[in-house]
Structures are given as C-alpha cells and as structure tokens.
C-alpha cells in the first residue's frame, strides 16, 4: 500500500527550516532577516523531500535500516539552501517583483543586498557541506553550483537552428533544475553505499524527475492563473524565454520562429505567442515528454530493493505530472 510521499517524509522534514536557519545565524540583524526570508516553511520542500526519500530507499537497499543518517539529512538542507540562494539571484536577474506570494528580497531591500544575501546562503551551504567530511560528496554538490550558473548563462543566448533549440532547452533545464536533484540524490546514495551502480540509479532518478518537474512548471506558466502560483504567468515569455510548449508550437505556427529569435521583444509578441501556444498542441506534447521522463525515473528507481520509500518515489512521479501549482 502506497504512502503519500509528503507524509512519509514529514517527520524528517519537520524542523528542516529551523535547522537551516541555525546555519544562517549571523549577528547582523538585517542580513539575518534576508537569509531567513524564504525559509519560512511556506515553500513546497519538494527537493528535500525527494532527497530524504531517496536516502531512506538507498539505506534499505543497502541493508541498513531505513532511518536517515545525519549526513543525509544535511544534504537535504544543503540542497534547499543552494536552491534558495539561486532563486534569490534569479529574482535580481529577472527583476521579479514577487515570489511565493511575497515581495522579492530585491524589491524590499534592493538589488545589492539581495545578491549579498544569496552569496551568504551559498557560503553557509558550502560550510555545511564541508562539515560532512566527505570529499566526494563535496565535489558532487559543488558541480551543482557550477551547473546553476551555466544554466543561467545558457538563457542569455538564443539558438538559430530549431533542432539545436530543443537540445539547448533540455540541457538548460538539466543545469538549472535537474542537476541539483540528481546530484543530491547521488550524494545521499554515496553516503550509504559504495556501489557506483546504486549512485547511478539515484542520480538518474533525480535527473529524470527533475527534468519532468521543470517541463510541468513550463506548462503551468501557460495554463495556470497568476493566483495559484504566487507569481505571474507567461513569465517565461515576458523574459524572452522559449520553453517546451512554445518550441513544440513552432511546428504548427512557424510565425513563432521570428518571435523566438527576437525573444518576444516586439509589441504584442507575448500575447500572440501565448495565443499560438494555447491553440497548438504544444502543451500536450510537453506533457507527453514529461511523462516519458517520469517513466524513465520509475524504471531507474525500480532497480532498488522494494521499500515504502522507493514506492513513494515512484508515486511521486505521478504527483509531479498532476501538479497544478
């Protein structure tokens, strides 16, 4: 009988944000407030949940008990800290006003302090990572930090060739979203098991679920209303970004090519592109693709010994596809 992933991870997730805040304690009151700003427990804690479930699933598979190692819990915290630091910087880069229903840090305190707060969260994550005392784990998660930045850079340029564009989009999606999940999963597996095949299973599960997650996110940007998400939709178009639904819609509406090249910068581009996408089967195709990645993830994780956590991770892919926010 399948247990809901969120409930299963609940006990370990409890106090996660409190513990993160302890890592961020600093005497400068204002800096402290900025660092704590998004660790208010209102986030989805999606990444830590996956990490925790993966850790337990690996532990069972490795014939240890299902209970979480402290170092593994640390990884869950670290992954959430790295994720948040990157969000804080993204909001400055995108000049965003709101996130999770609140004003962004840059809007309240200015761009300069927002960047510094992000840097501080990153340094705290790095210290926590080092304290685990495992150089392989440090390497694995440091790669994420590099991938996040490279992913951001990839968004700066636009590709000429249609085929290249999709490849570029998937690679960017890996770097910006999936790498963190993949490598966090890999890290917790390393902490309990020395078999590289197990590391690969954990990594591939994380990678596939991560990509699926982002694809669904990109769909929601077109289909959901502003209220549910806590941030405005068609946001990607407004930023000049062509995501899955748009790239697929190109096949039916070649007019989109020119708009993509100029990053939807002409008057009316955003609205027209949005209309084209909704008229096309772009959303449907992106959904199929997300399902494919979820199938891959299931195939990977099924190689681990059965456990409640492993089954929850399988069920998780279903939740990813069915998200409405």
């Amino acid at each position: 009988d399948l247990k809901d992933p969120f409930s299963l991870a609940q006990k370990d997730l409890q106090n996660l944000y409190e513990d993160i805040k302890k890592q961020l304690l600093v005497s400068k009151a204002e800096l402290n407030a900025l660092c704590d700003y998004y660790f208010d427990g209102k986030g989805k804690a999606f990444r830590p949940m996956i990490v925790i479930l993966m850790a337990r699933a690996c532990n069972v598979h490795s014939n240890k008990e299902g209970a979480l190692l402290p170092a593994q819990r640390s990884i869950a915290m670290i992954s959430e800290m790295i994720h948040t630091a990157s969000l804080v910087h993204d909001d400055v880069i995108d000049d965003s006003d709101t996130r999770r229903g609140k004003n962004t840090i840059n809007k309240v305190w200015g761009e300069r302090k927002a960047i510094l707060a992000g840097d501080f969260i990153l340094s705290a994550a790095s210290m926590a990572l080092a304290r685990i005392g495992n150089t392989t784990v440090v390497s694995v998660l440091s790669q994420v930090i590099e991938d996040l930045v490279r992913g951001e850079f990839m968004q700066l340029g636009a590709k000429e060739n249609e085929n290249e564009r999709f490849k570029h989009y998937l690679e960017k999606t890996f770097k910006k979203t999936a790498s963190l999940i993949a490598n966090s999963c890999k890290a917790v597996s390393i902490l309990v098991n020395s078999d590289p095949e197990v590391h690969e299973i954990a990594y591939q599960y994380g990678r596939n679920v991560g990509i699926a997650f982002q694809l669904v996110d990109d769909i929601l940007d077109f289909t959901s209303s502003a209220n549910l998400l806590g941030k405005p939709s068609a946001a990607d178009l407004k930023l000049g970004l062509a995501t899955g639904p748009v790239l697929f819609a190109c096949q039916q509406f070649p007019e989109l090519h020119a708009m993509i090249m100029r990053r939807f910068s002409s008057d009316g581009d955003v609205d027209r592109a949005w209309q084209y996408v909704l008229k096309s089967d772009g959303v449907e195709q992106t959904n199929y693709l997300a399902q494919h990645y979820c199938q891959e993830a299931i195939g990977q994780i099924s190689q681990l010994q059965q456990s409640t956590e492993r089954d929850a991770l399988i069920q998780l892919t279903e939740l990813v596809l069915r998200r409405d926010k």
Partner: protein, 372 residues
Amino acid sequence: MAWRSRLSYIGWRHLSIFSNPSPSNWTKVVSDAEKIVGYPTSFMSLRCLLSDELSNVAMHVRKLVGTKHPLLNTARGFVYDSRNNLQMRGLIVLLMSKAAGPCPSTSDPIHDSMVSGIYPSQRNLAEITELIHTAFLVHRGIVNLKEWTNSDGPLKDMQFGNKMAVLSGDFLLANACTGLAQLNDTKVVELISSAIGDVVQGIYHESSTSAEEGSLTVASWEDQTFLSHGALLAKSCQAAMKLARHGNESQNLAFQYGKHLALGHKLNSDLHTFVKSGSEPAVFSLDSAPVVFHRQIVGPERWRHQLKQVQNMARQIDYTKLRGLIKTERGVSQALDLCSYHGNKALEAMKCFPPSEARSALENMACAVTKF
C-alpha cells in the same frame, strides 16, 4: 530619501578600486615578489577568463560602454591594468606557501610535487582566493535600481549592467567552489567558505549608511574591516599551510600575517588622500579610517557641525574642505599609528619562519604598507 544616499558614503557612482595611487616602492616590492613565485600572478584566473561564459559576458559588457554602470570600471581594470595589484592576495598566498617550506613528512605523497617551492594545491588555492576576491569586486558594483535617477543614464543600462554583474560574479564564485572541492580537503573548504561569509558581512552595510549615523568606533572599524578586507587573505594563508600539512602554529602565524597585512594595507589606502595630498581634490569614503577615528574624537555634535560647514545648499559635501578639517585633529595620526602597528605585527609573524627570499618579500610588503 535620495539626498541621504548622496550625502553618505561615496557610493557606487564614484566606485573605483583604482582611486588611490600606490606608493612607488610598493610596485617594485610586488614585481620582485612575483619573480620569486615563478610567474607573474596576473596570469592567474586566465583559464577562467578564457571560458565561453566570460567571453559571452565580455561581449555583453561592451554594450555598457558609454553607460555609468560600475561593472565597466571593474572590467576595464582587467583588460588594461596588470600593475594595479589586483592579484595581491594570490601573490601573498604563493609567497607564504614558499616561505613555509615543504611538508614536514617526507613520506607524504604530496612531498615531491613542489614546483618553484610551491605545491600545486597551494597554487590552486591562490587562484581560488583571487576568484573570490574578484567575485566580490563585481558583486559590489551592483546598483540599487530604486536609487537610479535620470543623471545615471537609461534605466535599462543599469538593469543590464546588474544582470551581467550578478552572472559574472556568480560564475567566479562557482569556479571557486569547484576549485575548492578539487583540493580534496574538507577543512580547507570549510575555512574558505567561512571567509566568503565574512566578506559578505563585512561589505553588507557599505554604501548604505548616512553621514550622520553610523556608530563605528575604532574597535568596530577594525572588526568590520577585518571581515571585509582581512578575512579572505588571513584564512587563505592559513589554508595554504594546512594544504602542506603544516601544524597549527604555522597556520596561526600565516593567519596573523594575512590579517595584519590586509588591515595595514587598508589603512594605507584610506590614509593616502590625507597624507599625500597636494592640491588635488579629495574623494574619500566617510567609512574610511581617518574619518571614523576623527568622528570618534570630536564626538557626534561637533561632527554634525563640521559637516554643515562643508556642505553646500544642495547638501553635497565638499570633500576637500572636509579633508582640511579632519587634518586639524588627531584622526589622521591615530590612523597612521594603527597602520604602523599592523605592519609591525605582520613583520613579527614572519620572523618565526626560516629566512628565505619569500619571507623577505613578505617582510618587504609589510614594510611597504606603512610607507607613503
């Protein structure tokens, strides 16, 4: 309120890391030192500079030409200016590594991998130190869009400049992180990561304090300046010792050198305009040592009165007049004394290392920071 930010610390509009000319002997000291470590340190981070991402950024940064975004100054410095001691920290880390000698145990695997008296891991650390320092130079140049006015040029230029500054700074920090991971020493990772946290705390309130407020005493000035200017160098020196398996004593001495050298250097830099001034117009930060010390000496009432004396109708400060006022009190001499103090403490730390060219170079640097 807009006038407050103009009154306060000179802020990003005047931000320039090149505003103070170095003493002529400093340049010589540095170039002599570079020979000792095997190559000019301006080549450090070159690998990083050749990356696609940064050439991408360089292309975009060209669009900033003609705008007033601070990133342009920082970038210009890389292309044109190799003599401005941008790589000072890395150089010191290399010298310290060399001065400390080989690792104590001959059976250690790293023992035979020295090149010019320095281990590869120590060279990498020196580069990482520079990456972090540069990342923060770049991130400090980010402007608060709320403070933008028409005289700064088109808003979209500032937004664009910010975007480039965030990305390039992040890129440098990310490279530092992966570089740290490759050192295979989690204690060093922890130490240097803590230094990154220190720098953030040190620079967090830069350019946000107003002229009248600010309660920096001499002691808190030192604490603050240690965070913003000393922690990275001190901890990197310590880490260099750790990488060669030197014991706690060496690590501590290296830390002390780094700390005192950095503080002395900052004091020297702050003092320049008060000590070397001819008739050039003054530009200085109200957070600089002589000003902070002066404020503490004259007290808040007199300070407010003095500020009024040097402000025009638009409440803009005449820094040349202010400098004149400050020179009549003891703030400058107090800062000079402190500068000598730190220079000497740095020298003291080096005495405990065996004599060598590298040690002499570090001693010369410690002396040079006390000279004008």
